[in-house]
Symmetry: none
Subunit: 213 residues, 4 copies
Amino acid sequence: MAPTSLGQLKPRKQPVQDRSHATVDAIFEATVQVLLRDGARKLTTRRIAERAGVSIGTLYQYFPGKEALLYALVSRQLDLAASAVEEACRENHGRPINQCSDTFVNAYIDAKASNPESSRALYQATAGLDMKELIDTAIMRLHRAAYSLLASSSDDLVDDLDNVVFSLIAVVTGGTRQIFEGDDTATRLPTFREQLARMCRAYLNESKVSKRV
Amino acid sequence: MAPTSLGQLKPRKQPVQDRSHATVDAIFEATVQVLLRDGARKLTTRRIAERAGVSIGTLYQYFPGKEALLYALVSRQLDLAASAVEEACRENHGRPINQCSDTFVNAYIDAKASNPESSRALYQATAGLDMKELIDTAIMRLHRAAYSLLASSSDDLVDDLDNVVFSLIAVVTGGTRQIFEGDDTATRLPTFREQLARMCRAYLNESKVSKRV
Amino acid sequence: MAPTSLGQLKPRKQPVQDRSHATVDAIFEATVQVLLRDGARKLTTRRIAERAGVSIGTLYQYFPGKEALLYALVSRQLDLAASAVEEACRENHGRPINQCSDTFVNAYIDAKASNPESSRALYQATAGLDMKELIDTAIMRLHRAAYSLLASSSDDLVDDLDNVVFSLIAVVTGGTRQIFEGDDTATRLPTFREQLARMCRAYLNESKVSKRV
Amino acid sequence: MAPTSLGQLKPRKQPVQDRSHATVDAIFEATVQVLLRDGARKLTTRRIAERAGVSIGTLYQYFPGKEALLYALVSRQLDLAASAVEEACRENHGRPINQCSDTFVNAYIDAKASNPESSRALYQATAGLDMKELIDTAIMRLHRAAYSLLASSSDDLVDDLDNVVFSLIAVVTGGTRQIFEGDDTATRLPTFREQLARMCRAYLNESKVSKRV
DNA sequence: GATGAATGAGGCTTCATTCAT
DNA sequence: CATGAATGAAGCCTCATTCAT
């Protein structure tokens, strides 16, 4: 069982009013900034509130605690990325395998690259917290999207498509993570994207050919 | 910019004596256990000392601080893994590309799998600490080993081998990390290893010069 | 020495209007309920306002602060009890000592028992607050009422009647408090009332002048 | 069920060493002083530690929290009082009813008066905390001691001795509490003691006589 | 008048680290 | 060398109170 009850991780207040919405956004933004500037170890509620320009009390009116704030932040980002990938996959159903492969790889990297700071920060934030559930959900969505995309391809693939997709996702998400956690993300990402695309195409083609033999 | 000067991160005394060596090992082992059992957030010096069966004072006679302890632990593990990969690569110089690929992938995964608990723990430990230098060093060693291995292959490869190796390593290390951080590592690792090996072979074959002709 | 000047402890506005009166009553009632349900430690202004169905701002329009609210509440309850006892004593002037004794004991316990929940709550509320003045006043009124009653008795009593009354009141109020703070108040109160009445009668009969002769 | 698990309320460390013992005593003593000087509302861990001349960390090495400290303090005092009463009762078994009565009353008041500051403080400390269990235990010990004493008396008493003892204890403990919580404790205690003794004797004699009728 | 978002002082507690024994 | 009691900075969070709407 999770060490923290789920009830503690949900936002306290729905941002219905404009001012509230702005406050929540400021807190999220501040969290990302503190994470990037000072690292996870120095991510304190005081710093977050300070950088967000609100009082510590205000922060606690929207989130029942620090962990809940991170949970909400990570949840939001993962959902955005998963949704983007899902949509891209949906739009490319029935295409040749190479295009399917590129679709997935690019959609995922685009999602991460659209907000590189957040992405870097999020990799930090997940550390030491119990975000497994959140991550598992996101991974599952990616899995379904990729599976459905590849299964729809005009090219036929192997029957253990589940394993292929599983490994594909591990490699795409894990590899991308390494790039974002390393130096020179901006410089290296284009190269990596290209190579990763080639790798995945090669892999999937291999999986296709092997079946035909 | 670094919060702790590098000098503070080295062990205080060399474990020249047997008893010292045993103590240091007990502390390392205890750290891994606490990390696995209680998570990074509850990794306190008191718990480590307790589980290691030594007093808190003793811990501080071997390490100048908690961060230094983790630094040393991570350093040791990364060094072991890098050395193992280096050796495997050295032994397979001049082989065909497929064998080179398998060598690297298997050597890396073997290194991680030889002590899965430590590996899982270490992924936790690195979070939030400034281990970039350590990781960069390890990555560089992997890079050199892989580069040298692939360059020696009886098959010719593309000229931007650096980029290929860079991406290869990102994918292998990142993908493996995802497996170790996920559930069912034991169950999923064999499948992943196989698929990753296939993927890398396919990728490198794609990158062969001969193919381009 | 008192942490809050006395001027701060009076209600901000007189409940002249009906709506005002209803609001104040709702707040009082809510305070009692929160006290009983959650205890003195969780008696927060937010909870009181919530349970009373008003906003926190409204609460502060009727009371200058939490302490003043409690002060007013306790004051009202103590006044009710003292008034009830005073009236009962007045109505029984000149009776035999046994009847005087019963009058006082029963009047006091009746006053407390007429609203047992409030009584329990109030004992909680007084804790930790500076209600000494309020309590002293109430005790003094009880003292005067009892003194006057006993002095009027058709039986003669000792000359150190002050001491007798003082002890009588300590015993009646203190004993009753123990019952209300303990378990099974409802079950035990009748028995206690009977025994307390017997005890007081015996005590006062012991103190009769005629006995000394 | 109690809101706080019992495990949280026990001391963290047994004061085996001399220094430890002195520290614990200093903390207890400081708690009493802060309670008397500043009241329950201002009884903060920082103040306690300050007045005890130890750091806040030291306080937490001996007690898992503020509540546990108070729990231990109250427990100690209640135990001392109960033990003293028990012993006095034991030593006066078989005596006439008047002597039994005086024994109990005086033993109880002596116990409280032997450390009037602590007694006053303790009445404050119990406020708002969950000490019911502790208090119930103490009351039960008093009940047994008094019951046994009175049952052993050379005079015969009524058969509903339980009710008599119950009421007796409510009156003695509650009345004494009122004296300690009021002003001029020192001045008023002797008078109250005398009157209370008379009252209890009269009550018990009444209970004896009524049976014989 | 009523509302409730915002405030921030201050409470409780943890934990890396030191140092006298 | 080992021990563990002591330290205190710093983290998280609550809650009485204010004030713009």
